[in-house]
Every structure is written in structure tokens, then in C-alpha cells.
Subunit: 155 residues, 2 copies
Amino acid sequence: MKIIILAIGKTDEKFISEGIDVYLRRIKPFCPIEIEVISEPKNHNKLSVEEQMLKEALLLEQRITLQDVVIVLDEKGTTYSSVEFAKQFERWLQQQKRRLVFIIGGSFGIHRQLKEKYSTISLSAMTFNHQMVRLFLLEQIYRAFTIIKGHPYHK
Amino acid sequence: MKIIILAIGKTDEKFISEGIDVYLRRIKPFCPIEIEVISEPKNHNKLSVEEQMLKEALLLEQRITLQDVVIVLDEKGTTYSSVEFAKQFERWLQQQKRRLVFIIGGSFGIHRQLKEKYSTISLSAMTFNHQMVRLFLLEQIYRAFTIIKGHPYHK
């Protein structure tokens, strides 16, 4: 199974891109992983928040197939400790699908249509910069593999 | 009032140091802020986890005065949404003290003595790399100022 992080808007902070690279490198020995960044919709600044989120949801849906396990990141989603997340993550990986796809919305978050359709997880009750969330998710995925494999990293 | 982030162990990932600098620069127009890093205790690898955490707690206590509002970061601490955190943060800043001190423990977390003595907050139910937590906290502090000031960043 391959892990895909599907995110809206290119990473524009250098330290975040560097951190993403560090964690992708650490995760790859455990599992193939890739970040797919979808550009924000054209003229997105002229759209209402609702229109923008709906357009983003359509762009995200186009990238999803029936062969994917899809998890949407949302502040109000299910919360887990890292150990609980690792167990859940292992169950997702054991499903007979081709890809495990995590969706991270744009700066306004994710349209309710997607939240209703797929499982949601929350990394925190707090709102974080949607680009920084990529880093947090990668750290938790790496931590999950170290927990599953009994590697000393997670302590 | 000055904000101090008191943390154990120097930041050894370059992308984290860079991210910390980015957020310190953003926060400084709102309030003076500084990170004070305390080195891990000598020969810490030879100590038990309990001994190491206790030594770290003593080193942390030495840096705290009666003129400080002290908040300990702990996974099991009080959780807030970003807006609730901003309100609480404003109340801390309004206290007639000299410094608002956030304590971030070392790789094993924080000794229970400190958790019992001071208020605790949780950024997430998940365990994160204790160095990356510095970045999360700074982003929330910056977000809190933008919420308090009605700045568009937090959306």
C-alpha cells in the first residue's frame, strides 16, 4: 500500500518544505509515501469561502479512486493518542486497497461534503496553519511506524 | 510582560530552528519573546527516566521566579480550541507578573511534580517530538495574538 498526502496549496515556507523532506526520507524505508499538492482554484481570492471550499473539494475528489482508503484531517475529527493512532493506522494499511490517502484542506479547512463522506481524524483541537499540518501528520505517521515496529524513536 | 519558552535540550534539526526564527520574528511586534534552552543533565543517558526527569525538573525550577505565570505543556493537560486558547492567553498576559513562562519538557516529557504545581495545557492528545512542539506552541502564540488583535491571519 502506498501513502498519499493530498493537500491544497503549495508549501511556501522554506522550513516546512525542509521538514517535509526530512520526514518523507524517514518514512520511506517503512512504506512508499508521497505528497500530492493541488493548486488553489483559479481566482480563488474572488470566490466566497463556501465556493472556494467546494471547488477544492471537487479537485480533491478527482484525485481519489475506489481503490483508496480516505482519511480527512479535521479539527473536529476523531482524536487519538499516538499509540491509538498507530493501531488505527495499521488497520488502514491492512485493508485490501491500493493507497491510504490523507486529505489536508486549504486555509479555510475542508468542505463538509468530504467530512461527511470519509473518516475524519483530528491532530489537535487547535487550528494550525494548514501547511504546518503536513509536518505534524508526517511526524505522526513516522511515529506510528516506529510504534508498530517497536523502534526506540517514540519512547 | 515578556513571554519565555523554557525547553530542555538544544534544537538539533535545522528546519525546526528556522521555523522557530520565523515565528519569533512574527510574534515580536506583539510582545517580547525568547526561547531559553536548558541543556540536558550531564550523563543523562546513564540515568533512569525518573532520575532524568527529576533532574530536568530541578533545572527548570531554578529558572522560575515568583514573578512568573508558569504554564506546563503536557499531552494530558487542558485542551483548548485556538480561540479559547487566545482568550486564556490574554488572561495570563493581564496578570500583574513579569513573565509568562511556557515549559516544554525533554524527550521523556515533564516530571509529575511540575505538572501538579503549575497549570498544564495540551496542544494535542498525540505525542509529538519535543523539539517540534516548540514550533507548534509558537504558531499558537502567534495565532492567539492575531485572534486578539483581529488580524486576518487566523481566518
